[in-house]
């Protein structure tokens, strides 16, 4: 699988109100990019625009893949809420994409993925029987099941407690390696742990921030990562 980069040359508005400043942003292919910025600056809107689900938002400009092929059908999305259907079992949730496209679900693959994210024993349970971390791992398995080269993450770990968050971050980083990941987050520490590239979105546009040295996911007590966390937080507070 070759994961293309993204090139965003666009601004966006709802009616006459600008919801995303004019951007010329390149998202590196097969790498993890974290998008930071204040609330209301348009981070989630940008993800929704890339995924083509931003109803009511007018896109002025273009969002393209660097390999010039259309993006449609090459994107998977993971959100803050696990978005598991409460009436389906975990396996059925993981294979939801196939049901929604009217194709036969690849059950052996779903089983293998659940095994990999450590949910093999929970495959036939309903989401309500799982903890928050387990539910988000099920959401990860569902995202992996889609097997798309571009993955958009909208604060997928923000509802988890610190320990579970670190675990699910590690798991996600491991499984999404080699894909083009664009993650929106409020948490500088999360960006410093996971990112190959860090971009700060502001009302005027965007600016890049150097990611810490070393490969992601970095250790939670990695000095370079902690230093970047502090510097990023200071930068975000100044903005």
């Amino acid at each position: 699988m070759s994961a293309p980069g993204l090139h965003i040359r666009a601004s966006a508005r709802i009616g006459e109100t600008q919801v995303l400043a004019p951007l010329d942003l390149r998202v590196a292919g097969a790498a993890w990019t974290c998008l930071l910025g204040a609330s209301g600056v348009g981070k989630s809107t940008l993800l929704r625009l890339i995924a083509e689900v931003a109803d009511g938002v007018t896109l002025d400009g273009s969002i393209t893949a660097t390999d010039a092929a259309p993006l449609k059908g090459r994107i998977a999305m993971m959100a803050q809420s696990d978005l598991l259907m409460p009436w389906l079992t975990i396996t059925q949730n993981v294979t939801l994409g196939a049901r929604l496209r009217g194709t036969a679900p690849d059950l052996p693959r779903a089983e293998a993925l659940l095994e990999q994210v450590g949910l093999a024993d929970h495959a036939s349970k309903r989401p309500e029987a799982l903890s928050g971390g387990q539910r988000q791992r099920a959401a990860l398995a569902r995202t992996l099941m889609e097997d798309r080269p571009v993955v958009l993450l909208d604060e997928p770990f923000s509802a988890l407690d610190a320990r579970t968050r670190a675990q699910v971050q590690d798991l996600t980083a491991e499984f999404l390696r080699g894909r083009t990941v664009l993650m929106v987050t409020h948490d500088p520490a999360e960006a410093a742990r996971l990112a190959d590239h860090i971009t700060i979105l502001t009302e005027g546009g965007h600016s890049d921030w150097p990611a810490p040295s070393g490969t992601a996911p970095r250790a939670v007590d990695d000095p370079a990562m902690l230093h970047t966390t502090g510097a990023l937080l200071a930068r975000l507070r100044a903005a």
Binding site: E52, M77, M85, P86, W87, R99, E128, A129
Partner: protein
């Protein structure tokens, strides 16, 4: 077991109050018969009550089934199509301003004195609550689910079938529970306006001949049936439709 005991105690209390009113006021039998008298009548006239009950129960059950089917389809149609929403919804709301009671004579004219007009009456009275409850639930599908489904490449029809309808089934269940209580009202009104069978007809007949005990017997049969119907619908909904409800620890 405890609820059964409570229900029993509550029934006993109601009967005691009823009897007490009769003793205290000394009201004659043809105005308010005693509980015992009503029970005697029920047993004596069981064949008569059973015949009329079968008619009314059929009207109610058929009306409920048709109302659920039509209401369900209407709700899905409205939820699926913005144009249908704009065109049909005002009509639905306006139709609610017309008292269904006022339509009973014309329905009898259109659908005859038989069961047809009563079934339509029961259907009409439950159609709006069912449509409305299910439609509201269909429009409340979490946006995140719909967005995810679209990213996964789903058509609107599949999103409706795989996500929106299952997610809205508890809403349909709420509508059906209301329907189970309203449908008997529709059937009885229909029978009052013009019928030759049914508990409503029997009540009117008994009342006219000052057979108050028979009227009460019919009334109790109807009330017990309504309570049981509601309980049955509630149970069925819990076992099926409500399973899509978000459990504890949900989003």
């Amino acid at each position: 077991m405890k609820t059964a005991l409570t229900a029993l105690a509550s029934t006993a209390l109601a009967l005691a109050l009823w009897q007490a009113v009769i003793w205290i006021t000394g009201v004659p039998n043809f105005i308010l018969p005693s509980p015992l008298r009503v029970l005697e009548t029920m047993i004596e006239s069981r064949a008569l009550l059973a015949t009329h009950f079968m008619t009314t129960a059929s009207e109610i059950l058929i009306g409920l089934a048709l109302g659920a089917l039509l209401g369900g389809l209407t709700a899905i149609g409205l939820a699926a199509s913005p144009i249908a929403r704009q065109l049909v919804r005002p009509m639905l709301v306006f139709s609610q301003a017309v008292p269904v009671f006022a339509l009973a004579p014309i329905l009898t004219l259109w659908f005859g004195y038989g069961m047809g007009s009563k079934i339509v009456m029961a259907l009409l009275i439950i159609y709006f609550p069912i449509t409305s409850a299910f439609f509201d639930a269909l429009m409340r599908t979490p946006q995140g689910w719909i967005d995810m489904a679209r990213v996964m490449g789903a058509s609107n029809a599949r999103i409706m079938r795989v996500i929106r309808i299952p997610a809205a089934l508890p809403g349909l269940a709420s509508g059906l529970r209301l329907g189970a209580v309203y449908a008997p009202i529709g059937a009885i009104i229909g029978e009052w306006v013009g019928a030759s069978k049914g508990l409503g007809y029997l009540m009117l007949l008994a009342n006219g001949r000052a057979k108050t005990d028979l009227m009460f017997a019919a009334l109790i049969v109807l009330a017990v049936f309504t309570v049981l119907l509601h309980a049955a619908v509630d149970r069925a909904c819990r076992a099926t439709l409500d399973r899509t409800r978000e459990g504890p620890g949900g989003v």
